[in-house]
């Protein structure tokens, strides 16, 4: 079992986690959440982080994004140590991530205030199209469905042209049919825009459907237990033997037997 997750190909390393530990102090006790995480992520790669709930997946994502600083070790992007949040990599939250006081257009344009009006309009229109929210440009989030709000959040993130997208269980609050459609949409966007994506989920199917590699975390304190390469071309046939095999493997690694 390898704890060092190295990329399968030799193309450029985008993000590198080097002996990252994270402990929280609570009531005078220190609780270890992340333990010696080492991970290399290739440029343009789609990584899913899976693990038992409460294991520290979100903490890991927040450390990568610069929202939390590691207790020891470091995260580097393009060889540069991450010091804090940065508009070059945007985190998409599970819920409530869009601003309710701005319209769809206003939300997508949120990170574009430095552009001229014409440029901002054009960029906003492009991403409205990309996430298929045409006709809702002037609607407020309260008038959108859960899936539309998440697409809006992804559009706002992509509009600032980030090189990494962190997604923290972005479809976790949606119903299963909408989740399924959203995965397709995300893959379509990923294939046209080619960003590095790091996607936290606790859904095994979601991970096998989306990821180039699935990083399996152990229960708390989280260590990288295994890394599973999903060697199936997109679009993936969800009843192909290879898909089912990988899904079973992943379930076993997480410690699930496949019966109810």
């Amino acid at each position: 079992m390898s704890t060092q997750a190295s990329p399968p190909s030799t193309s450029g390393v985008k993000l590198q986690m080097d002996h990252v530990r994270k402990t929280f102090e609570r009531d005078g006790k220190s609780i270890s959440v992340l333990e010696d995480i080492n991970l290399d992520v290739r440029n343009g790669e789609f990584i899913c982080l899976v693990g038992p709930s409460g294991c520290g997946k979100s903490t890991m994502l927040n450390v990568m994004g610069g929202f939390l600083s590691p207790t020891s070790g470091s995260v580097a992007i393009d060889g540069e140590t991450v010091q804090g949040p940065d508009p070059r990599r945007i985190l998409v939250f599970q819920e409530r991530g869009v601003f309710p006081w701005l319209t769809v257009e206003g939300n997508i344009g949120f990170g574009l205030s430095k552009l001229s009006d014409a440029e901002r309009k054009q960029r906003t229109a492009h991403y409205v199209q990309l996430v298929r929210l045409q006709g809702f440009e002037h609607s407020y989030p309260s008038d959108l469905s859960g899936g539309m709000k998440q697409r809006l959040q992804v559009a706002r993130a992509l509009a600032v042209n980030p090189d990494i997208l962190y997604l923290d269980e972005p479809f976790g609050a949606l119903d299963s049919v909408t989740r399924f459609i959203m995965r397709g949409e995300l893959l379509r966007i990923w294939q046209t825009e080619r960003r590095t994506i790091i996607f936290v989920t606790h859904d095994i199917d979601e991970a096998v459907q989306l990821a180039d590699r699935v990083v399996v975390l152990s229960s708390r304190p989280a260590k990288i237990q295994d890394v599973l390469t999903i060697d199936i071309e997109h679009p993936r046939n969800l009843s192909s033997p290879r898909y089912l095999e990988l899904r079973d493997q992943l379930a076993q690694k997480i410690g699930l037997a496949y019966s109810v």
Binding site: G65, F67, G84, P85, D86, P87, I90, L91, F93, E95, R96, G97, F99, P100, W101, L102, F110, G111, S113, Y140, P141, S142, V160
Partner: protein, 252 residues
Amino acid sequence: MNWLARLRPVAFIAVLLIIWQVAIDRHPGQLLPGPWQTLRGIGDLLQHGLLFKYIVASLFRVTWGFLLAAVIAIPLGLTIGWYSRAEMAFNPLVQIFRPISPLAWIPIAILWFGVGDLSSIFLIFIGCFFSLLLTAMSAVHNIPDVYIDVGRNFGLSTPNFIYRVLYPAVAPQLIVGLRITLGIAWLVVVAAEMIAVNSGLGFLIVDARNAGNRYDLVVAAMVIIGIIGLLLDLAMRSLEQVKSFRWGFPEN
């Protein structure tokens, strides 16, 4: 059907007025003037040009006291709420001052500002200040972390963060706080005018009693105070319909 539903409260008030009039007619005494007498009292005030003069005087004091409190208390409260250390330092102080009735400040108001407009404006200011300060402090606390994180993620400068995340996130709660506080200001102005000045609706009540037991004018002033309070509240409520604030209010 809709306009019928709207008419219902008006009809109810009309019924109450009729009952009031009938009761007064059957037991004529000195306990309370009837609605008709009250209406004639309002007519009297109109004739002497006092009605609008007094309303304007009261509104003038409320406006200044309320605005001054809002301009000082809201930025201060937002700042204190944002920095947890400042909050730890200020919170006990605020909690001590808040339950003191603005009326308790009357002697001090007179000592500092003499008898006149300034005193009553000060009393209204005091009545609004702590209420707004607390509103602003708790509004900051209630901002979901997600909005703050998004603001940080997009690399906003501090002024930009305040203008584009902090302010819109607290606006609905501030509007509720301002609405409640305007009610307080309107309560305090009547009391303040009973002591410190010689115009306004509060003064009218005291003056009408002192100058010949004109209870029709007393009740007239009360009715007008109530109606203006209602109108002020409706005006503040209309702010809740502004589109970029509406998310913070339940659908009605």
